[in-house]
Amino acid sequence: MSDLSRTVESLLFLAPQPVSVKDLAEAAQATEGQVEEAIELLREDLAEGKRGVVLREVGGGFGLASDPASEEAARRLLAKPRTPPLTQAQAETLAIVAYLQPVTRPEIARIRGVTSESAVASLAERGLIEESGRSQFGAAIFKTSELFERLFGLSGLDQLPDPSRFDPSPEDERDLRERLLKAGEQRAEP
């Protein structure tokens, strides 16, 4: 292992947040290219299944995480219960914030068709979304947090699945339209 790889591993071990290549280069007094090479070496050593720690590219930088295989043992040791999965309302609200950010609460409500106060509050409490100012009408504006990217294993928001894959197929759309209209025609029949 090169000296620079060792330094980078040290820094990632100590840093409470993922660190960008740029910051790593500044701290290690190396070029970004050199840091990228060092990370490549680390990536091999810390590939999934090799050690108890894995290298992850998340939240706009690099970070170390424990191997998922030891999750249960870790929760026993740290007395940290598993966080509950996202509820349907939370997942929908999070999807809207993730794709439309920055987005206001009324807009979330408009899309979901129901007020989403409690989903917004619990996502904020979990640290997955955060307020980032107010709209001109005073509504709170939300965006996803750095923690969101970390917990979802995303190196950046551009790693979210392409939204076009959620476009309804023309068949679905036609089907829905026809069903709405067909019901009306039934009435026209005697």
């Binding site: 870790a74 996202l86 408009r110 979802f152």
Partner: protein, 250 residues
């Protein structure tokens, strides 16, 4: 599964028949949205859920999106903007509007599924959360300069000291239970055989009043009361039903 498949029969003032038919006739303007009490549709839906005893989540959310879209269209009809003529919403336009809303919602519903799965698959990775070693912490303190305003803490404490006004939380987390409103109604009826709704409950907040009206519907259904209202928005006179008409005491 879509809302159009929802097996919900309606018996409303202006319409009797299945829900999907109602949607269609509204879209075709055979019934004006202005005449349709959307609240009744919701009540019918809730009763339908009670009967079925199970909540088909997907249908329920689509139903809500649909009702919300109808409410928005209706409020647009009721409150035309000054420069705009009362908008004649053509059936095709209404279909397109509703479709657009439903499709938009579906898109995020599907994205939500992907995100929830991803959250699940990533939960095994745990990150370290430990204080910096002492030698680094010391330097951090020495390098620190004032960047935060202590008044922000004072303001936050002030917010926390403020006891929330009742109305405010009521729309965030409804605190009015139908059961308690039923009890309140029966309490009034124990001492009197009839009362005026506004005199009795006019001072309650809007949510409490609304739930009390639901309570009236429930008591009416059980045959415990009848009521009179001469004109729309006029006073409501609630009367205890004559005892032998009570066939089922709740």
């Amino acid at each position: 599964m879509a809302v159009a498949d929802l097996d919900l029969d309606l018996d409303l003032d202006v319409f009797a028949g299945p829900f999907d038919l109602l949607m269609a006739v509204v879209l075709r303007e055979e019934i004006s949205l202005l005449d349709l009490q959307l609240g009744e549709v919701v009540v019918a839906y809730v009763e339908h859920l009670e009967r079925e005893g199970e909540l088909e989540l997907e249908v329920a959310t689509e139903f809500l999106v649909l009702i919300a879209a109808l409410l928005e269209l209706k409020s647009r009809l009721m409150l035309p903007s000054p420069e705009e003529e009362l908008d004649e919403l053509k059936p095709e336009e209404a279909v397109e509007e509703l479709l657009a809303r439903m499709l938009e919602y579906r898109r995020y519903r599907d994205a939500a599924k992907v995100l929830a799965d991803r959250f699940e698959s990533q939960r095994g990775y745990l990150y370290r959360s430990a204080p910096l070693p002492p030698e680094l912490r010391r330097v951090a303190v020495e390098a620190a300069t004032a960047v935060y305003d202590p008044d922000a803490l004072g303001a936050a404490l002030g917010d926390l000291l403020t006891e929330p006004p009742d109305v405010d939380i009521s729309h965030i987390r409804p605190t009015v239970s139908l059961e308690r409103r039923l009890r309140a109604l029966r309490d009034v009826l124990r001492s009197r055989s009839s009362f005026d709704f506004d005199e009795e409950f006019g001072n309650e907040d809007r949510l409490t009043q609304a739930v009390t009206v639901f309570g009236l519907l429930e008591l009416y259904r059980k045959g415990e009361i009848t009521w009179e209202q001469d004109r729309a928005f006029g006073p409501i006179r609630v009367k205890k039903a004559i005892p032998d008409a009570i066939h089922k005491q709740g």
